[in-house]
Amino acid sequence: MLGDFADSFLNVEIVLRAWPILARGLGQTLLLSAVVVPLGLAGGLAIALLSRARSRWVRWPLAAWTDTFRSLPPLVLLIFLYAGLPFMGIDVGPWGAVALAFFLNTGAYYGEVLRAGLDSVPPGQMEAARALGLRPWLALWLVVIPQAVRNVLPDLVSNTLEVVKLTSLASVVAMPELLFQARQAQSVTYNASPIVAAALAYFVILWPVVRLLSRLENKAIAGR
């Protein structure tokens, strides 16, 4: 029984043989994260700044936009873009579909977090920066945004962790990232060990982030 378990889940020989494939997948996962996290942050910052507009003609459509993309499961959005758009003659490919889906989905989440951050900075900060002669954009960039980010840092880290985990969805649209490669190796070898190895890789990379997050959250609660 224990031998069976080791054979089908912790088969070192198979993992070593699959390693080149898995390593390429890991590289793709890291690359993907390096692309979609900044993309989502940029979209989120745009949403957060726009949602502070005075006109309801800006705020209401924006609220509808974020609510829509937060209520759609990211996989639904991804499949829609990947499998639906080609019917219109628009083929964005796996990279295009993934980038767009993450921009829309994670942008909406980052937007909510950053908006809360901007709201937490007292208006006096902006006024003081303007009084010192800083232009509005510079005041925003140098004075308001850094404080906003610091105030919502745990939520930002938590969201980023979720985004990196979400990159595993790209395997569904045949992007050769870590999970996809592990599935390939598993189907060739009829053995689950490559998937266990992939899970281990995710864990090794993301565990420090989870620990950091626990610490940040505990600090936030203790400070209340």
Partner: protein
């Protein structure tokens, strides 16, 4: 066909939608069932782990923290795939539905344990001392003084997290479950038209927009006045 007509024919084809509506409705019911089972089991397990952690047995707590960290760090899809494709190798076989249920239950349990625990630790030391001064023992203090406050305190993060994890039910389509996304995808394949996918997206909006509203209502009801 012009651009807008073409768009309507492709994504909002009422004839195709009407034809596949029963399938999507069945998928909707399956999603609701799966989500309900995940929420009940996940929150119950999470709360139990947090209570267990309150006993302060060091070795046990290390184990709880490790398992919680594990399921917070792993992508849910990886866990689902591992359970679905891995377990048969051991002669154990879970259907796609139960593999998804187990995976997301464990993930929700991990996240909610962390949240419940945060609530327990945020309930001041003085509450324990006051309970003890009244002559109460550990368990009555925990269940009648600490937990009622802790749970109410953590309702907002808890509802957010629960909703986010429940949306993961769409992942079940990857392991062949005919929930909303799965049934919409097969309808799209059969009809050669993506309108069922639009229908699926509408179904999710119908499901989750009210859930978000109910979440806000629960938050208001549970809020501790003056905190």
């Amino acid at each position: 066909m012009g651009g807008l007509d073409g768009f309507a024919f492709t994504f909002l084809n009422l004839k195709v939608m009407a034809e596949w509506l029963p399938n999507i409705t069945a998928g909707f019911a399956l999603t609701v069932l799966l989500a309900a089972l995940i929420v009940v089991a996940g929150l119950a397990l999470g709360l139990s782990l947090a209570v267990l952690r309150a006993f302060g047995v060091r070795v046990l707590n290390w184990g709880i923290v490790f398992v919680v960290d594990l399921f917070r760090a792993l992508p849910p899809l990886v866990i689902i795939v591992l359970l679905y494709f891995g377990l048969p190798g051991m002669g154990l076989s879970l259907s796609g539905f139960w593999a998804t249920w187990l995976s997301l239950t464990l993930v929700l349990a991990a996240f909610s344990e962390e949240i419940f625990w945060a609530g327990i630790t945020a309930t001041g030391r003085g509450q324990w001392d006051a309970g003890r001064a009244l002559g109460l023992r550990f368990l009555p203090i925990l269940f009648r003084i600490i937990l009622p406050q802790a749970v109410r305190m953590v309702v907002p993060p808890l509802t957010n997290r629960t909703i986010a994890i429940t949306k993961g039910t769409a992942l079940a389509s990857v392991v062949g479950v005919g929930e909303i996304l799965g049934s919409a995808q097969s309808a799209m394949a059969f009809s050669g038209n993506p309108s069922p996918l639009t229908l699926g997206a509408i179904a999710y909006a119908l499901l989750f927009l009210p859930v978000v509203g109910v979440g806000r209502w629960i938050e208001r009801r549970a809020a501790i006045p003056g905190r």
